[in-house]
Amino acid sequence: MGEVALHNLRKTYNKDTVLAVSDVSFTVKKGELFGLIGPDGAGKSSIFRMLTTLLLPDGGSASVNGYDIVKDYKEIRKSIGYMPGKFSLYQDLSVEENLNFFATVFNTSIEENYELIKDIYVQLEPFKDRRAGKLSGGMKQKLALCCALIHRPVILFLDEPTTGVDTVSRKEFWEMLKRLKEQGITILVSTPYMDEATLCERIALIQDGKIMSIDTPEHIVSQYPDPLFAIKSDNMSHLLGALREHPLVKSCNAFGEYHHISFLATSEEVKKELLSLLADKEFKNAELKPIQPTIEDCFIQLMNH
């Protein structure tokens, strides 16, 4: 049995008119770093709220640390840490007061579990008398993580911890998660950033309340159905439309500097023909090279099927 196991879990809103989570099943193993990857409105937070016993499911079942999410909610609340997507600490308490408060609520003290949060808390300590509301985004997120950890939970639920946080703090945050995982804590994390998917051991890609794929990031990427190429030239915005209309092009999506493109047939002639065709039009300096798909490529491909 997994540390977290969902069986056809379902959540509806507005008198059953909105299906937020559609019969979702997956298992998270003990000590795993598991990512739930999907855009806003995909159902990530609803899943997290059901697993953390804050919301009752409308169908199916789930267990967390061996306990049923409906029957055994009291046991679950003792053994998990939860960091909601919205900053939910007390803005008018100081850093230290917040941490103390959460420790006390769980019948413990900062001293008792200091080892677990030490790495993170040392960065906060210079500001321990500052009100939580006055911290920067990155610091708020670190404090929220400390508060979620202070009772030494077995499982950690982190709902979009890196949304709206700067690049440097995001990188630091993932480093912290890796270290927590080494301590044996099971971690479920959700994110709308596709590039963070590769930092998880296993991921579930979720859209419209349904899981599209669950696997290791490497496996999901290796299952991309077609050889993929990157193409760039002058007039990138017009190039996108021109390529999409080309009869041999299967898909073409903008990916920053390059467009990612797949073909219905990938012989060398096809590619040569395409490049010479482009050179005849407004698309000078065309360049085409084979690439590895990213998780975002996979997500788009799965969404379109």
Partner: protein
């Protein structure tokens, strides 16, 4: 961005928008620009059509123009079936596309987009950029903020801001060359690391 839109006064320095001074000509500026933010863009408890009428009126369009342009907009965005539904009931991606189209309904000289694609799915995010490209092709200047570094590469030129200071301003290609970086994410990481505010 708020200073440039005439919503906030600078402490010092000068700027002009579409030739208008940001201290003196705030009303003229407001008539020359479109503005869309991630947080506030449309009234959730008005329908699609009502929002178009409302914002069209605010931007000074005549009723007849609003009707013609509104119909074209609804058709372009495939919102025919949703035109009379409350905006609050639409998926986030549709809201954002509608909000952008409303912000350029009066064909402003410049449109300001404040993190328009946060949290939107990858397919919709790309449809959104298609709309931005189309507006730029029509001659509208687009000023956009984003924290998706890969999106920076869709722009002709970008400025990277760290702690209130422009640390770099150039084309994405030249910035990557300058920092010997493979992606904009790396460029930003190099710029921001070590430059973090002491009072963080």
């Amino acid at each position: 961005m708020k200073m440039l839109c005439g919503l906030s006064n600078p402490t010092s320095g000068n700027a002009t928008i579409a030739g208008f001074d940001i201290y003196r000509d705030t009303e003229k500026i407001k008539r020359s620009i479109g503005y869309m933010s991630q947080k506030f863009s449309l009234y959730e408890d008005l329908t699609v059509i009502e929002n178009i009428k409302f914002f069209g009126g605010i931007y000074g369009l005549k009723d007849r123009e609003i009707e013609v342009k509104g119909n074209i907009l609804v058709e372009q965005l495939n919102l025919g079936d949703e035109a009379k539904k409350l905006v609050g009931s639409l998926p986030l991606g549709w809201k954002q596309k509608l909000a952008f189209s409303v912000a350029v309904l009066h064909e402003p000289k410049i449109v300001f987009l404040d993190e328009p694609t946060g949290g939107v799915d990858p397919v919709t995010r790309r449809q959104f950029w298609d709309l931005i490209y189309a507006a730029a092709d029509r001659g509208i200047t687009v000023f956009v903020t984003t924290h998706y570094m890969d999106e920076a590469e869709y722009c002709n030129r970008i400025s990277m801001m760290v702690d209130g200071v422009i640390k770099a301003l150039d084309t994405p290609t030249r910035l990557k060359e300058q920092f010997s970086a493979a992606s904009m994410d790396e460029v930003f990481y190099e710029l921001a690391r070590g430059a973090k505010r002491k009072a963080d």
